[in-house]
């Protein structure tokens, strides 16, 4: 019967539990955004070191360092990583991507229904991050 009398409180209580769950799933830290960024930088550094660009078409290799740094598949981390770019870095990145984007999309299309390699996934997420940035 209390539910009838406090319907909104009941739903609100449930909703706040859901918010806590979603924040935890997203790796959001109660200690603040710096912890989140530090974790993302650490994860991406490890991923970036594991990428090898020798099998990537030569025209796309200039994207390598950027994809290693920013091509995070994690929807939460990617914008945080992009936010670390300076204005000069953004300009440089946009210039390089502008030159390589067409070839990059063509390369990604070649995978068809096959799983992307880690390097291709990093490039795809880099392009995705740039679209979000713009």
């Amino acid at each position: 019967m209390n539910g009838f009398l406090r319907a909104r409180n009941w739903v609100r209580s449930w909703l706040m539990d859901e918010v806590d769950r979603a924040e935890a799933a997203a790796g959001r830290h109660k200690n603040g955004p710096q912890d989140e960024l530090d974790e993302c930088l650490g994860l991406q550094a490890a991923l970036g070191e594991a990428l090898t660009w020798t099998g990537v078409p030569e025209p796309l290799r200039p994207l390598g360092p950027w994809a290693a740094r920013l091509g995070a598949g994690d929807d939460v981390c990617r914008p945080l990583l992009f936010a670390t770019l300076s204005e000069a870095e953004r300009s440089e990145l946009q210039e390089i991507v502008g030159e390589c984007a067409s070839a990059a999309h063509q390369w990604l299309d070649e995978f068809g229904s096959q799983a992307l390699t880690d390097e291709a996934a990093a490039v795809m997420y880099l392009l995705l991050g740039i679209e979000d940035m713009e």
Binding site: M1, A7, R12, V19, L47
Partner: protein
């Protein structure tokens, strides 16, 4: 790409709602509602999504839209007592008292609520219509 976390649109709306609560950011509430509204096409069977949307809409006085959203939540998951109660609450507030009372009685019977107490609260329903009986 092993350390990948993906967010459903529903969860993204939850995080935006959390920003509204934690940072007192009114625009975050609007973003959460927009996210949940857009997510209805990708997560149409997610009862929780529709209930969350209903609560957000109700918070911004979009009561009729909130009623429709919670109706969907209730239909998708008939075991959700919170959705059912929210639905009946909004029904009553929108003046659909007969349907609300009928629903309350049915819910009370299913959940073995004391009917004498229910009658008292049903009377309150009529008296408190303008403010909402359950809020």
């Amino acid at each position: 790409m092993k350390a990948k976390r993906t967010q459903s649109p529903y969860d993204r709306g939850l995080i935006e709602y959390g920003e509204y609560i934690n940072d007192f950011d009114e625009s975050a509430l609007a973003r959460a509602i927009n996210t949940w509204q857009a997510a209805r096409s990708s997560e149409p069977s997610n009862s929780a999504l529709h209930l969350a949307l209903s609560y957000g809409l109700d918070s911004t006085d979009q009561t009729e839209e909130a009623l429709e959203a919670v109706r969907v939540a209730k239909e998708l998951d008939s075991d959700r007592r919170d959705a059912e109660i929210m639905y009946l609450t909004l029904l009553a507030e929108l003046g659909q008292e007969a349907e609300a009372l009928s629903g309350i009685e049915a819910a009370a019977e299913r959940q073995e609520v004391d009917l004498a107490t229910l009658r008292l609260d049903s009377r309150r329903l009529g008296h408190l219509r303008t403010r909402g009986p359950f809020s």
